[in-house]
Symmetry: D2
Subunit: 362 residues, 4 copies
């Protein structure tokens, strides 16, 4: 089971496809039967990640129309593998001809070439973010199961772009607020500044990074495994596996290291309903690797997009020094489109651990 | 293969044991045959993590003597499972009697109880950091294989304690420098301040967190898998699975989000030997999830130790509010003892991916 | 990793698709890069299993045209997941309308319904033998790798149909001889009798079973794992996972139990080239779960096809007794079409274990 | 997850240990919490497989005393890994000194040496049947869970020794009847003949094989996965992974191939309670890879013990021809001691699939 293109144990996805091959897609194995799901519901999530959706994303206009090939009958999951796939349509691979022999800085060209002795150089091949179409499609199903069957909500928003932060009440923020602007930051004032920054770096032929905040609400107590498969360890891996992610923190994270234990520990108490709660949530909803019942909250750091138009020093496959001046159409900032990807990965982790816990302790 | 107590695919470890049961240990499956290894070499690593090693760790004096039960003959690995185990000796479980019915803030007591319907309350049971004895023992073998067969070095040091940082040249720092003081921070001046801070919080009955820096040198190009099992995603999971870890970042991490792409991208060039190198290493030694040949560097955030002597608000298993004033002997700061654990987990990830890469591309 | 639709560890396949959904196919993860492969080569193997290929198979004329969507560039494997798929064309699901509410004896209708609370009743859904299209497609790639890179040959033929046996020299039989007649039994005289029997049972609206013999030649010494993943245990699982298989034996199998150890043990000697060989091969090419270098030979028992036209007692989904008289077009004997499936599964097991052994011991 | 010493997905065991190293044992991960279990209950199963238990087993007198190190508190499983181990006591490795350089026919000496470049030659090392101590210990827990929580019974008996068969009513045979004689064949008359045969081959310095029959009663409908992890495919792998096993068949098996489909298909009907049953059980309790609710019945072929005292032709590690005349103390027939091993493996498969089914469909 070392297949590097699979994720999850019981709700298990396997993605396939290159940027400019025939298609990109996903096989989901282990989905519980009996869940109503439509292609339109899945497409809705994909539309949130598709290129060309707004003025601050890449102008490549890819529809990423998803097709369903198995595992659903009469609109209901049957329990057998679900295959979902988007054909590759907008294949201007000529755009990439000049990249055939050049290693782009910040990209996987060099490491792929060294690992496999060859690489699909068209649009990054397997390392293209198109791979995440499969994740988002599978995540749409996981999100629906969590929401409808268990009342669990996975939500993500843009907290920071470049050095521009924001102020958002994580307890009350809604999906509608996230979708209310094109940068997907619910702090409207700061969102405007973020958009302005993204437009500036775009016009400069440059790019910028940022931070996404993830929330998972109403998780039952006890999901996760105590040792290696701690819930936040699996969440961290999930997020770090997304292109351009360089950091992950749960709860207080890096900032928490400066606190004293007496300030950091979340005191237990009984709320008015008698349920055990904590007064604070520095833990981020996870104690000893298991969900505590408090909202899981985490942050994900995205580096600035590697593809820029500015000239860069690099080398060719034939061992010559060169200057790369990329053309093509790219995202100046990946964060707005990464929001549904983070939500999808979060949903995949939680549903998988829900099923694992059900098997042993249900 | 959802066993939450196993880690790795081809060099695979499975740990077992509770803090106050019969023993804690590990089974390693998939170790290449022909590696010379002695119990003394393994013990040396364990001595770096054992309690009571210095004035700033818990005064519990546990020898954690490791025993070898299988998989090695005449001092050479045979390719069959290696079982290593330390008997639990210093079992003052009476110390914990008062914890039988109380949920300690910041600990796994409450979540274990809810998940399994019961828990081993003696010293945290399975959630005790004693579990890492198995990791360090297995890591000692992985470290030796990497060093002797492949020339790869895994190194870790304390970079920050509380708010006290340090200034260390990651390119030149040595294992000897790390071991030169009890806090394992190679910046001698700052190390003295860190020790002072730890002694202060200890005397106050409180605790403090910090940041560890990890380095992996001389990794060949191409280790890691392109999609879910990116090298830094597996490193991140490995680190996040260690008790008290709340954050992980590779290369530029959270700080890198504020850079422009033109500043963040690491330019490729050929060094004097003709090898492809990068002028900077914001990537942290990983491009597209695959090792780039540059030094892998990452940071790990540890929260302040949850166990403190100060009084804390909490609840009992019987649904009553109470005030917990812990006694017992605990670490005011886990970082000095966590250094060998981070090194061990790094070595396990790298060796596993080395074998995976060898299988497909070797 | 409990995905029941995946097989193999390092050369890992995941199949998807129902008989009458959109498509059936397979994702292969872990294929070594650099292998030349064409769709035509894969199609050739599929043509050996397709319906309508001869007078003794089902007259359903399905072309099972395979399409390649990823993982191959310029005719060479790239090391990334390979997706292969055949659209479902000949979907006369009206043929199956009368089966919607009836549990067919010998089929999975009843157990699927009970397990999942629903089932795709059109042509058996996921339990249809169409699922093996993915296996044969993936096996075609594995077979090519084994043959071209390692000189290993996977060969299978029909040894028995009903009570009609055959006499074949397993040491010299060739693929051409197997393909020389439509029943795929290299004993020409007995093949004629087998064909006659199959035609008879077909005309009676009945069916018949048989035995396939598998051979794997030129396997290097040492493939397989010593304990649970013994080479013949994984071969056995592979074969038992094929529809209609009820038995598997390696080497002397069930007949060997009556021998004395002194007769059964295969004596070692050095052949003229100095290589260690055995005088006999009762072991079937496997000692202690590891390949011995002798030809691996095994037998696979297939029950008579469950679908027959003769009237049968059964029950409906609505809990009523009924008599089922099936119509539709079915195989009176599955063995001729099962030959390429057994070869495919054998190739998948051997290539997977070759890669596993290379990782640890290569 | 290619660890060859692990078995199962959710109730997962990992065995370790060589015949003459420090110990043999097992780690069980994923056991549901709350099961009462005592060392005595586990020991009882081990006593059924231990050497020296009767006049027809090896006279080596090994107590195989099991020790429990983790995962059980106050006699109840806690949900964390359970480690069980037997120290190696009766280590007369001098007995094996003459085997250091000789490859025993029928054994794994040669293949281990070639695979790993070395081997533990003392008593077969890892390939020794002592490895099954871990399986039987883990199986004891699985059997208890199945029996007490689910009412499922795993039963096995000796059906044939050499050419001596028996006549047993599989519907009514009890565990007590199996244990009523030392050969574990409930047909008392035939048991006497079997014992006589075993004594004869023992006195001749030879050995003999046989067939075990396995029964699993009261399995709920729907356990197993439809494609690769069919219930009987996993049972087959489990059995084929036991030392000396050369064949496995479910239900009608090899004999069923000669039947017509109309005779082989098991007709469905409603019994007096309204439950769906089949009139016959040629399927062996599995339809489409899923349990049907009928008793699962299967047969397992064991070759004659490879270790015999009679002189045998072989070669040495130094490439010389030689004659081996083994001394030492060995089983003339492994079947009586294999009965608890087959029961253990059956229980492990069923419990694992029960948990898998519960996760997805429970």
């Amino acid at each position: 089971m070392t297949a590097g293109s699979s994720f999850g144990q019981l709700f298990r996805i396997s993605t396939f496809g290159e940027s400019h091959g025939g298609a990109v897609g996903v096989v989901i194995d282990g989905c519980p039967p009996g869940l109503p799901i439509t292609v339109a519901e899945i497409q809705k999530e994909l539309d949130r990640r598709r290129p060309g959706q707004s003025s601050i994303t890449t102008p490549r206009n890819e529809q990423d129309q998803i097709h369903l090939f198995s595992g659903v009958m009469d609109g209901i999951t049957t329990g057998t593998p679900i295959m979902l796939m988007a054909y590759n349509r907008d294949q201007k691979s000529d755009d990439y001809n000049n990249l055939k022999a050049v290693f782009r800085p910040g990209h996987a060209d060099y490491t792929f070439q060294q690992k496999y002795g060859a690489r699909d150089w068209r649009g990054g091949g397997r390392s293209s973010a198109r791979e995440t179409i499969g994740r988002v499609a599978a995540g749409a199903i996981a999100k629906k199961y969590l929401k409808e069957k268990l009342g669990i909500e996975c939500l993500c928003y843009v907290e920071q772009v470049g050095a521009i932060g924001s102020s958002i009440d994580a307890d009350t923020v809604t999906a509608e607020q996230v979708e209310s602007n094109i940068v997907r930051c619910p702090d409207t004032a700061q969102a405007a500044e973020m958009i302005c920054l993204i437009e500036t770096v775009r016009d400069e032929g440059d790019s910028v990074g940022g931070v996404l905040k993830g929330l998972i609400r109403h998780v039952p107590v006890g999901l996760g495994e105590p040792v290696f498969d701690k819930l936040h360890a699996d969440l961290g891996k999930a997020m770090l596996s997304i292109n351009a992610v360089k950091g992950f923190e749960i709860g207080s994270g890096f900032a928490g290291v400066a606190l004293r234990g007496s300030a950091h520990n979340d005191a237990f108490y009984h709320d008015e309903t008698g349920r055990v709660r904590t007064r604070t949530n520095h833990a981020g909803g996870v104690l000893g690797g298991l969900s505590s019942g408090e909202t899981i909250h985490f942050r994900v750091a995205f580096k600035p997009t590697s593809t820029i138009r500015k000239a860069q020093e690099t080398v060719t496959q034939d061992n010559e020094a060169t200057i790369l001046e990329a053309t093509g159409r790219h995202d100046p900032c990946v964060l707005p489109r990464a929001v549904p990807i983070v939500e999808a990965m979060a949903a995949l982790v939680i549903l998988d651990h829900y099923l694992r816990n059900k098997a042993q302790n249900g």
